[in-house]
């Protein structure tokens, strides 16, 4: 094994950091509904998800051969470009986490890659039609597919289950939720840990450390699996809160329907070959199950902010990736400066997040004053107002937490 250059070392570490942010950004996908309906205690839920992510990382033998799936021309890609792309993706992941918005980590990575590649080699290096088929159409399709399935399933389960005693069925729904959440975690580990392994392997190949076409070394598999599991265990509580409580209020049958629909859609899409983003599938499923219950309310203001974040993911991560690539092109000092900026940016975001921390203890609190009768009645018929829409970096941080909101009325049928 040839020696690993400093640049290569930095890229590997950055890739693992991205994997880590990917982990805590996506904990919500598997566990938000499980946590908000109380099927599992928050800590137990993230621990289970972390273990399954780790297991998942070791399960799949097929390693991602390309990191962008053909979105950019990866031939002759330089290590600096990968580094710049990762910087863009990490910063966008952290920012959306700060705002508590579920957005796709893969799309952030694609965005970073596109930006860095364009800055490095011009627009011709981007395959525009693949962007449409792999990013834009799935982004529209995912919430519709999973949302519709979850909505119909929620209706059905309420119709069949309303004759049974709520207490007797709660245990069953709990077990069902845990099973489907486990499947989502496992699938996440196999997909997303593979991506990081693919990036590191590509960087090693580009740097001439391992031969082209070789499988990732064991240490790559172990470190990528560990990074994503640690990130998952840390728990992206801000995003979990948005998904579990912010979009709608979930009762156990809804959580079960949402989680099952998400697991099914994820597995179907990866099996049939029309890949959908896990995050978008899960958010769509949660909204669908919110609509499926009589008297259920989807907070469209929160949903809109989420949609805006989805739309911004590609350009924003791209812009960050392009700026990073502009710096790294300047030579060694540029690379060092980019690294320093990444650390500074991450530190700032973390500091800002401490102002209103969302932790394991308050993840299920929607900081609301007790709802009066009138508020409750209004909440049942209209989408309640949330904080002002922020897509703006300088926006007031108080708006980042889903706004105080009234509990919608429980349907009489339960």
């Amino acid at each position: 094994m040839e020696h690993i250059t400093l640049l290569l070392g930095i890229v590997i570490v950055t890739a693992l950091v991205f994997d880590f942010t990917n982990g805590f950004h996506d904990t919500a996908n598997a566990m938000a509904t499980t946590i908000s309906t109380g099927a599992l205690k928050p800590k137990t839920a993230v621990a289970m998800s972390a273990v399954l992510n780790l297991v998942g990382a070791f399960l799949s033998v097929e390693v991602a051969k390309t990191i962008s799936g053909g979105i950019i021309n990866e031939e002759g890609i330089r290590v600096q470009v990968i580094f710049a792309a990762l910087v863009g993706a990490i910063l966008w992941n952290l920012l959306t986490w700060l705002l508590g918005l579920p957005s796709s980590s893969s799309h952030a990575l694609f965005g970073g890659l596109i930006g860095a590649a364009v800055m490095s080699a011009g627009w011709s290096s981007v395959n525009g039609s693949t962007v449409v088929t792999k990013v834009l159409i799935p982004a529209v399709a995912a919430p519709i597919v999973a949302g519709l399935a979850a909505m119909l399933a929620t209706r059905l389960t309420y119709r069949i289950g309303n004759r049974a005693d709520e207490k007797a069925t709660a245990k069953g729904y709990r077990a069902g939720q845990i099973a489907s959440a486990g499947l989502v975690s496992l699938a996440h580990g196999t997909n997303d840990a593979q991506k990081t392994m693919g990036i590191i392997t590509l960087a090693l190949v580009t740097g001439g450390v391992i031969a082209p076409g070789s499988n990732p070394p064991l240490w790559v598999i172990v470190s990528a699996g560990t990074a994503i599991a640690l990130g998952t265990y840390l728990g992206g509580w801000r995003i979990i809160r948005t998904m579990g409580k912010g979009l709608t209020d979930l009762a156990p049958p809804q959580g079960f329907a949402a989680q099952t629909s998400a697991a099914t859609a994820i597995l179907a899409s990866s099996h049939i070959g029309f890949s959908l983003s896990t995050t978008q599938v899960c958010s769509g499923a949660v909204m669908g199950s919110g609509l499926g219950r009589k008297g259920g309310v989807v907070r469209w203001s929160t949903a809109t902010r989420m949609f805006v974040a989805w739309g911004l993911t590609l350009p924003a991560a791209g812009l960050a990736g392009a700026s990073a690539e502009f710096l790294t092109k300047q030579g060694t000092w540029g690379i060092v400066l980019t690294g320093a900026l990444l650390v500074a940016g991450a530190g700032t975001i973390w500091k800002l997040s401490r102002r209103q921390p969302v932790t394991v203890d308050n993840v299920n609190d929607v900081d609301a004053e007790p709802a009066g009768v009138v508020t409750t009645a209004i909440a049942a018929v209209t989408p309640p107002p949330a904080g002002p829409v922020t897509g703006d970096l300088s926006g007031d941080l108080k708006t980042t937490i889903p706004s105080p909101d009234a509990e919608p009325t429980r349907p009489a049928t339960v």
């Binding site: 998942g56 399960l59 799949s60 097929e62 039609s129 449409v132 088929t133 159409i137 399709a141 519709i144 597919v145 999973a146 519709l148 399935a149 979850a150 119909l152 399933a153 929620t154 059905l156 389960t157 069949i160 289950g161 004759r163 049974a164 005693d165 007797a168 069925t169 069953g172 729904y173 069902g176 099973a179 489907s180 499947l183 496992l186 699938a187 196999t190 049958p253 079960f256 329907a257 099952t260 629909s261 697991a263 099914t264 859609a265 597995l267 179907a268 899409s269 990866s270 099996h271 049939i272 070959g273 029309f274 959908l276």
Partner: protein
């Protein structure tokens, strides 16, 4: 530009049918089991409902196993 509408359509169809089917089965199972409790409270038994419930759960477990198979076999 080639958009694979057929694949998108199958994902849509398969997700919809499987989700609704599984959730329906599972709910039937839950309802069946809860019948046992109410039956035993009245001193009777609900053998048919309980057997049906276990059949439903077995079908759901098979679906989960198939899901794991899909993940592992990729």
């Amino acid at each position: 530009m080639h958009i694979d509408w057929a694949a998108l359509g199958s994902v849509f169809g398969v997700s919809l049918v499987t989700t609704v089917g599984l959730v329906g089965l599972f709910t039937l199972g839950i309802v069946g089991l809860s019948k046992r409790e109410s039956a035993s409270a009245q001193g009777g038994s609900a053998t048919l409902a309980v057997t049906g419930a276990y059949v439903c759960f077995a079908a759901c477990a098979a679906a989960v196993a198939y899901g794991i198979f899909l993940i592992v076999g990729k």
